[in-house]
């Protein structure tokens, strides 16, 4: 369980001030995987640095399993940091240490006996599927394997929270999926809470239960995946289920609607429903239908005949749980 309350971070650069985080509040329940997405400069890295207190937030609090990390002494902070396991974009393994020695590092810090370290490290490497690589140096591993070592190292102190900063951004698509599968498996097995910072929508689709959109230091959209997609005008939905780039605008013929829906509605014949209810022809301009997690989601752009009462159609669709955005047309 991780709770962020009104987190602000202001950087001073000479005379200028940069508000990198502008009141970020967030709750991630135990055992959930939450994604935070945002464009370059949105404040993702700053958020990570404030969560681990590598940078002190200007104000606001971070609480992990009831323990506040902000406003504690240095020695308490070190203890608190062990409650968060962190995974980095480039793994940040120690090149002078073997795989096993890397995973052992956090345990050495707290003086765990050698024999105990040995069994724990062996278990962790087995867990991430690297049992055979205990004595390899990071330079002898592939990017995906390095990231697995990073994950094992992050889990060494049995943290409550796994914080992943762009964990797959340096990996190819197949390795990305393998790492995400591993994260999901670990969440199920260890009941940890996971926070993934990413700019890849694919990661959100593949692994996250809920998602926040960070923009200019604020969370502008937030919710469970299904919820976000069913929100009319949601930018997250539009990026999670993008329409093909060359979608015709159909300008000047009839009203154009963007429909977003999920679950049960996705299996219903929405188009024929409109046709039957209103006695009109519906032209599908573009569409994408995808399975995200357990649910099916659809994003359609349709054009109604000129002169149709778009408002009535919209009203009707909203009534059955379809998110509708009017895109123009007559």
């Amino acid at each position: 369980m991780i709770t962020i309350k009104d987190l602000r971070k202001v950087y001073r650069q000479g005379g200028d001030t940069v508000v990198a985080l502008d009141g970020v509040s967030l709750d991630v329940p135990t055992g959930k995987i939450h994604g935070i997405v945002g464009h370059s400069g949105a404040g993702k890295s700053t958020l990570v640095r404030c969560l681990t207190l590598l940078d002190r937030p200007t104000s606001g609090t971070v609480t992990v399993n009831g323990q506040e990390l902000t406003n504690v002494s240095d020695s308490k902070l070190r203890d608190a940091r062990r409650r968060i396991g962190m995974v980095f974009q480039h793994a940040n393994l120690f090149d002078s240490r073997t795989t096993a020695q890397n995973v052992a590092y956090p345990l050495e810090l707290i003086g765990v006996p050698k024999a105990e370290i040995k069994t724990k490290v062996a278990d962790l490497l087995e867990l991430v599927g690297l049992g055979k690589f205990a004595n390899a140096y990071p330079s002898q591993l592939s990017g995906g394997q390095r990231q697995r070592v990073g994950i094992a190292r992050a889990l060494a102190t049995d943290p409550d929270v796994l914080l992943c900063d762009e964990p797959t951004s340096a990996l190819d698509p197949q390795t990305t999926d393998e790492i995400l599968e591993l994260v999901k498996k670990l969440r199920d097995r260890l009941e940890i809470t996971v926070l993934i910072i990413t700019h890849e929508m694919h990661v959100v689709k593949q692994a996250c239960d809920s998602v926040s959109l960070l923009e200019a230091g604020r969370i502008v959209e937030h919710g469970e995946l299904g919820e976000v997609i069913n929100t009319a005008g949601s930018r997250l939905a539009a990026t999670l289920l993008p329409l093909p780039g060359d979608t015709p605008s159909g300008e000047g013929r009839g009203p154009i609607l963007d429909l977003l829906y999920s679950g049960e509605q996705a299996t219903e014949p929405i188009i024929s429903l409109i046709t039957r209810t209103f006695g009109i022809d519906v032209n599908v301009l573009a569409g994408s239908v995808e399975q995200l997690g357990e649910q099916q989601f659809a994003h359609l752009r349709v054009q109604l005949p000129a002169g149709t009462d778009a408002a009535a159609v919209r009203e009707h669709l909203l009534g059955i749980g379809v998110a509708v955005t009017e895109k123009g047309g007559k």
């Binding site: 940040n92 393994l93 120690f94 050495e108 330079s139 190292r153």
Partner: protein, 226 residues
């Protein structure tokens, strides 16, 4: 052949070469030891107190880097040696001999080595330091368990360079009473015009430097797992 027989009968070779070599080795070894003992912590301090370091302290960094290290390094070594003679006499009780020379050599090389250490540490990516901190390391643990081991190839190379420099400097120190091969070359080669001794001395010094460099490169490679 005659040249060789001459050489082997020359007291400069038979009597003086071996002790002079030992003295040079002594000076180099002792100064290397003290240079590393003082220069390594100084280099770490230079890096840590710098902006963005583990413990940025502006005034301390200015004093260490700007004043002590830069000023000492900008004084030509020969002049530094001469000016340190009284200090060496104060520390070891004599202004002559390899031990006295060790004092000046050490003081002269510490800032040089400290800068090399600082550069080697700077090559450790900040991501590794962040990772170590996030795992709950104290700053001391970050230095001892992460920064120094990760910078080891660079530190070994820095030490090799320092030893090579010290061999050269120790020859210079020989001229102002330090003894060793520098003294030998000066006494026989320059004062008495025995150029064969000069040549032999040069060969010995070149060999020493080669051996140190080869050993250093080998060790640097051995500790480099990148």
């Amino acid at each position: 052949m005659e040249f060789l027989t001459d050489l082997l009968n020359n007291p400069g070779i038979t009597k003086a070469l071996w002790p002079a070599t030992v003295e040079t080795l002594q000076m180099t070894a002792l100064s290397t030891l003290f240079t590393v003992l003082v220069g390594l912590p100084l280099g770490i301090l230079l890096h840590a107190t710098d902006k963005g370091g583990l413990a940025p302290v502006r005034w301390l960094n200015v004093v260490l880097s700007g004043i002590i290290v830069n000023i000492t390094r900008s004084i030509p070594f020969a002049i530094l040696m001469v000016s340190l003679i009284p200090f060496a006499a104060l520390v070891v009780g004599t202004a002559l001999g390899p031990i006295a020379a060790t004092v000046s050599l050490t003081i002269g090389t510490i800032p040089f080595f400290a800068r090399l250490v600082e550069t080697a540490l700077r090559d450790v990516s900040s991501g590794k330091v962040d990772a170590a901190l996030v795992m709950g390391s104290t700053r001391m643990q970050v230095i001892r368990k992460v920064m120094v081991p990760e910078a080891m190839p660079g530190l070994v190379a820095a030490t090799t360079t320092t030893v090579v420099t010290l061999i050269g400097y120790s020859a210079m120190a020989g001229l102002i009473g330090g003894g060793g091969l520098g003294r030998l070359a000066y006494n026989y080669g320059f004062v008495r015009f025995e150029s064969d001794i000069m040549i032999v001395t040069i060969i010995v010094i070149v060999l020493m430097v080669q051996i140190v460099q080869i050993l250093g490169d080998w060790l640097a490679k051995k500790v480099d797992h990148r």
